[in-house]
């Protein structure tokens, strides 16, 4: 799997696609492989503000539970509720499975690019 160049990444294995002041967030292919078959996804309410590194939800697979961390500072503007109904989509298309949309207010400087993240997961 190659990590798309239009996304940024964190060492907690989230990806973020920033488009001006808004962004979408999901987990990486590496993360879904580590988790295995995803069965549940718990996401927050729209309007919640998040600090970079703050837990915004949980993802659960057959074998483990894992927390989801915000890659940046911001406010949640949208939650992908269709994904909550079909969480197994995360395994099939991790980089297309956005979980929350955010209005970014800061913290985007330390994100990793595709090359740096690829190196991290080697």
């Amino acid at each position: 799997m190659t990590y798309p160049a239009d996304l940024k990444y964190t060492s907690d294995h989230e990806w973020i696609q920033i488009d001006g002041a808004t962004a979408r967030v999901g987990i990486t292919d590496y993360a879904q492989k580590q988790l295995g078959d995803v069965v549940y996804l718990e996401l927050p309410q729209v309007g919640r503000t998040l600090k970079k590194g703050e837990v915004f939800g949980t993802i659960e697979s057959v074998k483990a539970v894992s927390e989801l961390y915000s890659p940046v500072d911001g406010e949640i503007t949208e939650v992908h509720s269709a994904l909550v109904q079909n969480p197994e989509t995360v395994n099939k298309d991790p980089h297309g499975s956005w979980m929350i949309a955010m209005k970014v207010t800061g913290g985007q400087d330390a994100l990793l690019d595709s090359a740096a993240y690829t190196e991290l997961t080697k």
Binding site: G36, D37, V39, Y40, T58, E60, V62, K63, V65
Partner: protein
């Protein structure tokens, strides 16, 4: 790979759900060589086995197997075991990997206590163990052996050759499906593993790991030592009264078990199904009427039934099917209801 009982074990090959479904619909091959074997031999071997295990080994015929418990004087589990009758004066206990050393010391000490002519030997290093499980298991294995497999009934075993290697073939498993466990000399294990995988290619056989073994055994409501029972839980509390020989002579812990059977135990293991989208996992607290009243021992989302199921210790008067309770899922209370076990039973 993960470390399990001192062994490096594969958690999954193609994925837990994929392997689980293969075993339910076709076949899966597990390397369970980590399991231990302890043999008890001598003219008084039966007497010794009767003293240290809960089930009635005097009812075993030659080549027959029974599920049993290695008990403490408190009626709790040193381990859960399969007892194989190899000869009138020779039994083999198949024990859990993480308990081999503990079990062997326990057994050796208590066999000595019984006295007479009986001795225990840890023969774990003499066997690799391959488990071929699933509806296609018999046809796959039959293509590699001259032993008539349809002649081996559930919980019986035979000796013979598989792929030219001298083995013991046991019609047992930990998945709730039909299948076989094959005891192989370690130096021939790879050869037999490869031969079975090759023979099963056309039938959709896949290698399967620890992860699927756990979800499969849980659907079949088979207990896992260390999760569902241990040295703090009795055989009666684990709802395994059917592996106690109630009519046989005294054995370690028999007085406690008989008392609990007559007067009731403080808790009982029961099956549950989640009523909300959540998984109650090992170690999560159970709440009844708002008060902490028990513990989840196993729980998962099962790939075949597609439900979140599990087992929990509950107050015995709250174990009737349909009884609702709550599980603390990382700080949030989620509803669950008692359901009968097993969760899955194969079509015969």
């Amino acid at each position: 790979m993960v470390e399990f009982g001192g062994w490096d074990m594969p958690v999954e090959y193609s994925g837990i759900a994929d392997e689980h479904m293969a075993v339910r619909t076709r076949a899966g091959l597990f390397d369970v060589s980590h399991m231990g074997e302890i043999e008890i031999a001598g003219a008084d071997a039966l007497k010794a086995v009767q003293h240290i295990t809960s089930n009635d080994a005097s009812r075993l015929a030659l080549n027959q197997i029974q599920y049993s418990a290695l008990t403490t004087p408190q009626g709790t589990f040193v381990d859960d075991v399969l007892t194989y009758k190899l000869a009138d004066d020779h039994f083999m206990l198949v024990v859990n990997a993480s308990n081999i050393v503990k079990d062997f010391h326990w057994i050796a000490e208590h066999v000595k206590e019984v006295g007479g002519d009986a001795a225990a030997v840890n023969t774990s290093s003499r066997y690799a163990l391959l488990a071929l499980q699933g509806p296609a298991a018999r046809d796959i294995l039959q293509s590699l052996t001259g032993v008539d497999l349809s002649g081996i009934k559930y919980y019986w075993f035979a000796t013979g050759e598989v792929a030219g290697v001298r083995v013991t073939i046991s019609r047992t498993g930990y998945t709730g499906e039909d299948g076989f466990e094959v005891f192989v000399p370690p130096n021939a294990a790879e050869r037999v593993w490869d031969a079975i995988l090759q023979a099963g290619k056309g039938a959709g056989l896949v290698p399967a790991g620890l992860g699927a073994r756990d979800t499969l055994r849980l659907e079949a409501a088979m207990r896992l030592y260390g999760n569902d029972m241990d040295e703090t839980t009795t055989v009666v509390e684990a709802d395994l009264g059917w592996i106690v020989g109630w009519k046989k002579d005294e054995f370690l812990g028999s007085d406690v078990l008989k008392r609990q059977k007559a007067e009731g135990a403080p808790r009982k293991l029961a099956g549950f199904e989640m009523l909300e989208r959540a998984i109650g996992r090992h170690g999560y607290d159970v709440y009844v009427d708002g008060a902490r009243a028990g513990l989840v021992t196993s729980g998962t989302q099962t790939p075949f039934l597609k439900k979140a199921i599990g087992m929990a210790y509950l107050p015995p008067d709250r174990t009737a099917p349909g009884t609702e309770f709550e599980i603390d899922i990382r700080g949030r209370r989620a509803r669950a209801a008692v359901v009968p076990m097993p969760f899955y039973k194969r079509q015969k």
